[in-house]
């Protein structure tokens, strides 16, 4: 999958073959790969019927060297815009559907956006920037005579509060880490719970486009059961999501509607409980968990079914991404990390070219385990608690479907650990914030057996569901000490 640096996304997708079996679909429509790449006959005279006609549609060439933002609630129009504008536009900003409209004017100014490509859905767009439909035509292929730099792809970072940062990638920096042979089969049908405007989803889309496969896109407001059923009907073979996505999927009871060969977890710490549950739910599938970040790219994946990763990967020569641990956090050096944050003068790498992921590691035996984000740490009287570590213990309890742990202000120790849990359907009576005392005691006793006292939740609250952060699919983590 090593691309020539000058090829556009459309050329690479077409080079992988345009058999009639290949397609891209979302909940609202389906196009053949040939149509998506614009190589069916001549350029279509009109946009596909599933695009609303209210927005002006102009030739792709109009956007040459322009900075454009792609914004729509639906994913298919965004994918088509990418296929038709990469190699033409100077810069493409991928706006996630859950972007806060309040932040868009600043993003548009900072990225010097001169046009927005939309289908009329998505976050409310500020006035003043012209909005167009997706170009219907296929621009000419890049040739050796083509001048100018590769199109910049700007991604919003996920999981942070406040105004998003924009991370600058190019197609080669996005594709580089995908050179692991995964899913290189003409019959691979990829899908992901992620939105493809997020790094985790975009890499899956690129695997499908460049590896000769097809792609089934998700939709933010689609219930997990409906999405899984649709994925099953479409014959999805390779599917990815966060552990939170997967816990929800298993909670929905609809996992059996799909029979994937490969199940991938990324974006959050995969604990042993979810790995075991997925192995049981999909006995025919390989279950792998991967580490990637928007800034550092895909670093590695782990396919042995065990949480954490072999310590031998740290400092191992010959890896596409070199890994090291500094002050407990993982650092990654690869030729394919993002260039920089837009507008930042300083590099995002250290003096040796490593990106600090901010993901904290703990060595247990011969494996490293992720114990959380540096900034997610709860400080209980000077002792650090990583929420994920406590969540992993809670999630192992047979009555617990899903847990979220965070800090609770304490006048005595600064903070305490509190937990919200969703019970398995079979484990409880009517939904109520009150836990039966016997069950509460049993869960807390399990925590006390596995954790030192300061890590045991002080408050255990039963909730009906736990939020995920929009299209990033990660468990929402409000800032600690919200109780203060």
């Amino acid at each position: 999958m090593q691309p020539p640096e000058r090829s556009s996304l459309r050329q690479l997708a077409a080079a992988a073959g345009l058999s009639s079996r290949r397609f891209i679909a979302d909940a609202t429509g389906r196009v053949s790969m040939a149509e998506a790449c614009g190589t069916v006959g001549t350029a279509p005279a009109s946009p596909p019927t599933w695009l609303p006609g209210r927005l002006p549609v102009v030739p792709a060439e109009t956007f040459r060297a322009c900075s454009v933002m792609v914004s729509s609630a639906r994913q298919l129009p965004a994918v088509l815009a990418l296929l038709r504008l990469d190699g033409i536009a100077g810069r493409i900003v991928l706006c996630p559907p859950d972007a806060a409209p309040d932040h868009l004017p600043a993003v548009i100014a900072e990225a010097r956006i001169s046009a927005i490509i939309s289908d009329g859905t998505g976050p409310a767009l500020p006035a003043g920037t012209p909005v167009f439909g997706c170009p219907a035509d296929a621009p000419p292929d890049l040739t050796d005579d083509a001048v100018g730099a590769a199109t910049q792809w700007l991604l919003f970072t996920s999981g942070t509060t406040g105004r998003p940062k924009l991370v600058v990638h190019t197609l080669p920096s996005l594709i580089g880490p995908l050179d692991d042979g995964l899913g290189l089969a003409p019959d691979a049908i990829w899908s992901t719970f992620y939105d493809v405007r997020r790094y985790g989803g975009l890499t899956i889309l690129l695997r499908a486009l460049l590896g000769g496969g097809s792609m089934v896109l998700s939709r933010a407001d689609e219930p997990a059961a409906d999405f899984l059923a649709r994925a099953g009907r479409s014959g999805v073979t390779h599917i990815s999501g966060t552990p939170t996505h997967w816990r929800r999927a298993l909670m929905s009871g609809a996992a059996a509607r799909m029979a994937p060969r490969y199940v991938r977890l990324s974006g959050e710490v995969a604990d042993q409980a979810i790995l075991n549950q997925l192995a049981a739910a999909f006995p025919a599938a390989e279950v792998a968990h991967a580490f990637a970040s928007t800034e550092a790219g895909v670093a590695f994946d782990v396919r042995d079914g065990l949480a954490g990763f072999p310590a031998g990967l740290i400092g191992k020569p010959g890896m596409k991404a070199e890994l090291k641990v500094v002050d407990g956090s993982l650092r990654i050096r690869s030729a394919r990390t993002a260039d920089r944050y837009l507008g930042a003068t300083s590099s995002m790498t250290d003096a040796d070219g490593f990106v600090d992921t901010g993901d904290m590691l703990e060595l247990r035996g011969d494996r490293y385990h992720f114990v959380g984000r540096r900034e997610g740490v709860i400080n209980v009287g000077g002792q650090k608690v990583h929420p994920e570590e406590v969540e992993a213990v809670l999630n192992r309890h047979p009555a617990v479907q899903m847990a979220r742990v965070r800090g609770r202000a304490s006048p005595v120790t600064g903070a305490l650990v509190m937990a919200e849990i969703v019970l398995r359907a079979s484990a409880g009576a009517e939904p109520s914030p009150i836990l039966p005392d016997a069950l509460r005691d049993d869960i807390l006793e399990a925590c006390r057996r596995a954790l030192p006292p300061h890590k045991v939740p002080v408050t255990l609250r039963r909730v009906a569901s736990l939020d995920t952060t929009g299209s990033s699919g990660k468990l929402s983590r409000r800032t600690q000490d919200e109780h203060a």
Binding site: G381, R408, S410, P411, V412, T413, M418, V458, T459, H483
Partner: protein, 81 residues
């Protein structure tokens, strides 16, 4: 159950849960001598908040932490009044 009775019950419960040996309880007992460590006291405050819906420390950055069990109970009784 009165505020006082709830506090005394919780002090006993937290000590048992955290496997701490509790000194005989009296209003004059200094909290530092009670057998409860900082984590226990933090847990006690949190559980009283949950049970009494009362946190006399919340939103008060300048409050001095009570020294004796009697001070502690009085702080809660005043907050409940």
């Amino acid at each position: 159950m009165s505020v006082r009775a709830t506090i005394l019950a919780q002090v006993t419960a937290v000590a048992a849960q955290q496997k701490k040996k509790l000194a005989p309880l009296s209003d004059g007992l200094r909290l530092v001598d009670s057998g409860l460590d900082s984590l226990c006291l933090a847990v006690l405050v949190a559980s009283l908040d949950d049970r009494l819906n009362l946190d006399p420390f919340a939103g008060n950055d300048n409050i001095a932490f009570p020294v004796t069990l009697g001070d502690f109970i009085k702080l809660y009784e005043n907050a409940a009044a």
